[in-house]
């Protein structure tokens, strides 16, 4: 097996057994990047010399008797809305072109402390707004599994980089599905943790009551290992929870799923779900039953209301968060001259792309006097009802199973002219974000000529330990049963 397709435990076994060095691994990732990134366009910035230096330092450390750290030998790509020391953060926007952050994100610091090596910065939709990675000011990302297809979004670069063997794992951010949906499009694992479990210090804000950082990886265990390192209280993010559970490593021999009750929301099984996705869901359910799980039908009756709720709330928050881009304190000056108002107007207009503008004006509208109650407050009330829907569903099952996306990856350009059609890509992931719950997307193995499909598992808040256990059991099950 190629070294740039190894999982964390395989890498660490190789390092321990001296069959692998961090430097040789780094060179394999860098070779893959050099060969394929010009076309796939996942990495926006990378410093190969630094990567080699860091890898050599790790090798030296291990050779001189240093202990194997949690993420020793792990090469991590970072979505370009998360600050990394010494690299630019552009958010795939012109308004932050060349911007060098003055501090590093807590998650990146924690990765480094655990032994991980930072590979570079990954393309995404501008300010994480999009579902296909076509809203990047630096060009779209192509799906490594089929380069005519989108990789999903907004963390499309993160998903593509892991799928293409450019790095071991990647960090993305998920506001309405931006980790899970691209993970499903690129056939990798993607985790959106419970809201508040991962520090957002150093993550550029989009919609603050939704945004969470999470890992994309080749397998559930790798996602778990990364999440374990990046999660936990951070005094520099007041929304990070004090109580963040730690969990024990999973048992590998998960041959049975006896006693597990899996709830399948009926709303995700009919209209609006593509045939291929439905088939993959049916097959998964059949396999679950064979493994001893009980599969029950549950209802999330407000699912069809979730997209408007999400777009009202996230756009309102975005219009406020993005007010800070004034081309005065940071970011390039794209236009000079005129008075202060002209300066704001011209620079913001030149700096932001169309989708970002759409969301800013929608957010401004729903927050404006006379419309606040009808839209913004209404959506916040809906949020209460949607949470209750999930609470009720979890009285009937241990875990919820849904498709991650209603359709498989689509062709580049297929939905760029129709924002509403694009928004539908998030219909299965948005409800979870509204309720602040943890969810993981795992790939359903497919034959080579079939399009990638992912399934999403959801548990109650802070039950990541259960989520990982169920996800790994299903991963083992699915790998043994190609559909």
């Amino acid at each position: 097996m190629q070294a740039n397709r190894l999982t964390i435990s395989e890498i660490q076994a190789g390092l321990k057994g001296k069959t692998l060095t961090c430097e040789s691994l780094a060179r394999q990732y860098l070779d893959a990047i050099q060969k394929h990134n010009p076309d796939i366009n996942a990495f926006l910035s990378i410093d190969p010399d630094q990567v080699i230096l860091d890898a050599k330092a790790s090798d030296q450390r291990l050779n001189s008797g240093g202990a194997m750290r949690e993420l020793e030998g792990v090469f991590a790509g970072i979505k370009d809305n998360i600050h990394v020391h010494g690299m630019t953060t552009t958010c795939a926007s012109k308004i932050l072109k060349g911007f060098s952050p003055v501090y590093e994100a807590t998650v990146v610091k924690r990765l480094r402390e655990a032994g991980a090596i930072i590979m570079g910065k990954l393309n995404c939709d501008e300010f994480a707004m999009g579902s296909s990675n076509e809203n990047s000011a630096y060009g779209p990302v192509k799906n490594p599994l089929n380069r005519n297809l989108v990789p999903g979004g907004s963390s499309g670069g993160s998903a593509a980089a892991v799928a293409a063997g450019f790095c071991t794992v990647a960090l993305g951010s998920d506001t309405g599905g931006s980790i899970r949906q691209p993970a499903s499009f690129c056939s990798v694992v993607g985790l959106k943790p419970t809201y508040g479990t991962v520090s957002r210090r150093g993550l550029v804000a989009f919609a603050s009551s939704f945004d969470q950082i999470g890992p994309l990886a080749l397998c559930v265990e790798d996602a778990m290992l990364v999440h374990q390192v990046i999660s936990g209280k951070d005094n520099q993010d007041a929304t990070s929870l004090t109580h963040t559970p730690k969990w024990t490593p999973l048992k590998k021999d998960t041959g049975s799923l006896a006693d597990l009750v899996v709830g399948v929301p009926e709303e995700f099984m009919g209209e609006g779900i593509d045939k291929e996705v439905s088939e993959a869901m049916d097959q998964t359910i059949q396999n679950l039953k064979k493994m001893g799980a009980r599969v029950v039908s549950v209802s999330l009756k407000l699912v069809n209301r979730c997209l408007p709720v999400y777009y009202i709330l996230s756009s309102a928050e975005a219009s406020s968060n993005l007010a800070r881009y004034d081309s005065v304190r940071y970011g390039p000056r794209l236009h000079e001259g005129g008075n202060l108002d002209d300066l704001y107007l011209k620079n913001r207009s030149l700096g932001f792309g169309a989708e970002v503008k759409r969301r800013i004006i929608l957010g401004t509208y729903v927050l404006s006097e006379g419309y606040y109650d009808a839209f913004y407050l209404k959506a916040q009330k809906m949020r209460t009802l949607i949470r209750q829907d999930f609470d009720h569903a979890f009285t009937q099952c241990d875990v919820l199973l849904t498709p991650t996306s209603p359709f498989p990856p689509f062709s580049l350009g297929a939905k760029t002219e129709d924002p509403m059609a694009m928004y539908l890509a998030d219909i299965c992931t948005v409800p979870v974000s509204i309720a602040g719950l943890p969810a993981i997307s795992i790939p359903v193995p497919r034959t080579t000529n079939q399009l990638p499909v992912g399934i999403q598992l959801i548990t109650p808040a802070l039950k990541e330990d259960q989520l990982f256990t169920y996800a790994q059991a299903m991963e083992v099950m699915l790998k043994g049963n190609h559909l």
């Binding site: 809201y195 929304t239 408007p308 004034d326 002209d342 509208y365 407050l377 009330k381 209460t384 924002p419």
Partner: protein
């Protein structure tokens, strides 16, 4: 839900964004479509439902009121496109002084 062209212009103005005449119709159409969708929430009864503004049980998070070092001003100014001494430089705001 129909939105006046003037409203679209006003939203851009409030958002400190400019919009070209030829772009207005497309933004107007997209906004109308989104608001139609948003209007559909009226069909759900939310009488007496408390809004959820924040999804974790956390309320105010306090810390000890102790002085700790902030970023030095040269770092704060490091990314400013124009600066003078220890300040951000802006176009003149108050006339005739």
């Amino acid at each position: 839900m129909s939105i006046e062209v003037e409203t679209v212009r006003r939203l851009f103005e409030l958002s400190k964004l400019s919009v070209a005449e030829e772009e207005i119709a497309s933004f107007q159409g997209d906004l109308e479509a989104m608001l139609d969708y948003a209007k559909s929430l009226e069909e759900v009864n939310t009488d007496g439902v408390e809004p959820t503004f924040f999804i974790t049980p956390q309320a105010n998070v306090f810390r000890e009121d102790v002085v700790s070092p902030s970023l030095p001003s040269e770092k704060v100014l490091q990314e400013a496109p124009t600066k003078i001494h220890r300040y951000f430089r802006l176009p003149k705001v108050i006339e005739n002084i």
